[in-house]
């Protein structure tokens, strides 16, 4: 049986928080450009390539930092005495990338991590926070809209530019919401994991 050691994830959470804010700003800029200059601007305009690279870097960077924090938070609840959690911290992160399964398992592991942070020794009796459902809905909207937009754009047909623009707008708008909800979720779980009440429950 694997033994987990509690390690403070405050530094990781703080770094991930600023990365998510940065990605939100880039998403907001994308929305503004699309609304002012039209859907063509971000696909074929002068800034298209550079903006695309910036957006890719902030999106991937913030996702990596968020998942690094999540790995640590999930390992911490195990160290705090939560048992019966799904898989391992590594698998909890891997669910985000497994086809079909990524539609629901990230919600499940995030929900369980929240519950276990609130009460490590009796986490299954905890209620599910509505914030997690909103967070996962925003994440799904972001990624599904981006995925459909990318597939349409790959078709190379000029007739679909309008649809690609609308999907990008949805993706970026939902992305801002998803990032802000990710920050809220992360900070709440952080507070739960270091609150004196739970630390005393953990180490009693």
């Amino acid at each position: 049986m694997t033994t987990y050691v509690y390690r403070d994830a405050a530094g990781l959470a703080e770094t991930a928080r600023w990365a998510l804010y940065a990605d939100s700003l880039v998403c907001a800029a994308a929305v503004a450009i699309a609304l002012v200059q039209g859907p063509w601007a971000l696909l074929y305009g002068d800034l298209a390539a550079a903006f695309g690279i910036v957006q890719l870097v902030t999106a991937v960077g913030s996702l990596i930092l968020f998942l690094l924090w999540f790995y640590r938070a999930n390992a911490n609840v195990r160290a705090m005495g939560a048992d019966g959690l799904t898989g391992s911290p590594g698998l909890s992160v891997a669910w985000f990338f497994i086809p079909i399964v990524f539609l629901f398992m990230p919600f499940v592991v995030m929900r369980d991590t929240w519950k276990a942070s609130a009460s490590p020794r009796d986490w299954q009796g905890q209620p599910t926070a509505p914030l997690i459902g909103f967070w996962w809905a925003a994440m799904l909207a972001t990624h599904l809209a981006a995925s459909f937009s990318f597939r349409l754009w790959l078709s190379g047909d000029y007739d679909v530019v309008e649809a690609v623009g609308v999907l990008d707008l949805i993706s970026n708008g939902a992305g801002i919401l998803a990032n802000l909800l990710s920050v809220a979720l992360m900070m709440r779980i952080q507070r739960l994991q270091v609150s004196p009440a739970h630390l005393s429950e953990t180490f009693r």
């Binding site: 048992d83 019966g84 959690l85 799904t86 898989g87 497994i98 086809p99 079909i100 399964v101 398992m105 499940v108 020794r121 009796d122 299954q124 009796g125």
Partner: protein, 157 residues
Amino acid sequence: MATSTIDGTVEEAVLRRRRPKMSVYDRILFRLDDGSTRTWAKAVVMNDVADLLTPGTRGRFYTFSAIDHRGISGVRTDDGREAFGFGRVNEYAGLGVFISMTLLVILQMSLLDGVSVWALVLAVLGLPLFLLYRQTRLDAEKAFKADAGFRPAARAA
């Protein structure tokens, strides 16, 4: 994936539905010897085991979890009763998906000269699903057998 044990007393067992072979509980609440509680939510329990999960039953309870599927696979009570049961529906489902989707992919490749991405993804997911549930069942059986002859201490008077 994960098996563990709970030593304590069943305080509450809220049944959601009972089928011919298994029962699903909204929650089973255990009171541990140190006074704390442990909840097992949305628990799937085979009926042989479920029959012993009545409030007041004291003993050792063998739990498992696999993906988002949790349950009680065995129980040994302080009055000497014991039961073990582990459903194999998900294990067979994983194997069925793997075999049927693999056959579909082979048929598509040989007859249609193309492959459905969904069939391929399901074939790839079916095998680990089968292996995961099989391993959990084997772990649960092993944990229960390892305790053979164990008799939980009776409640202090």
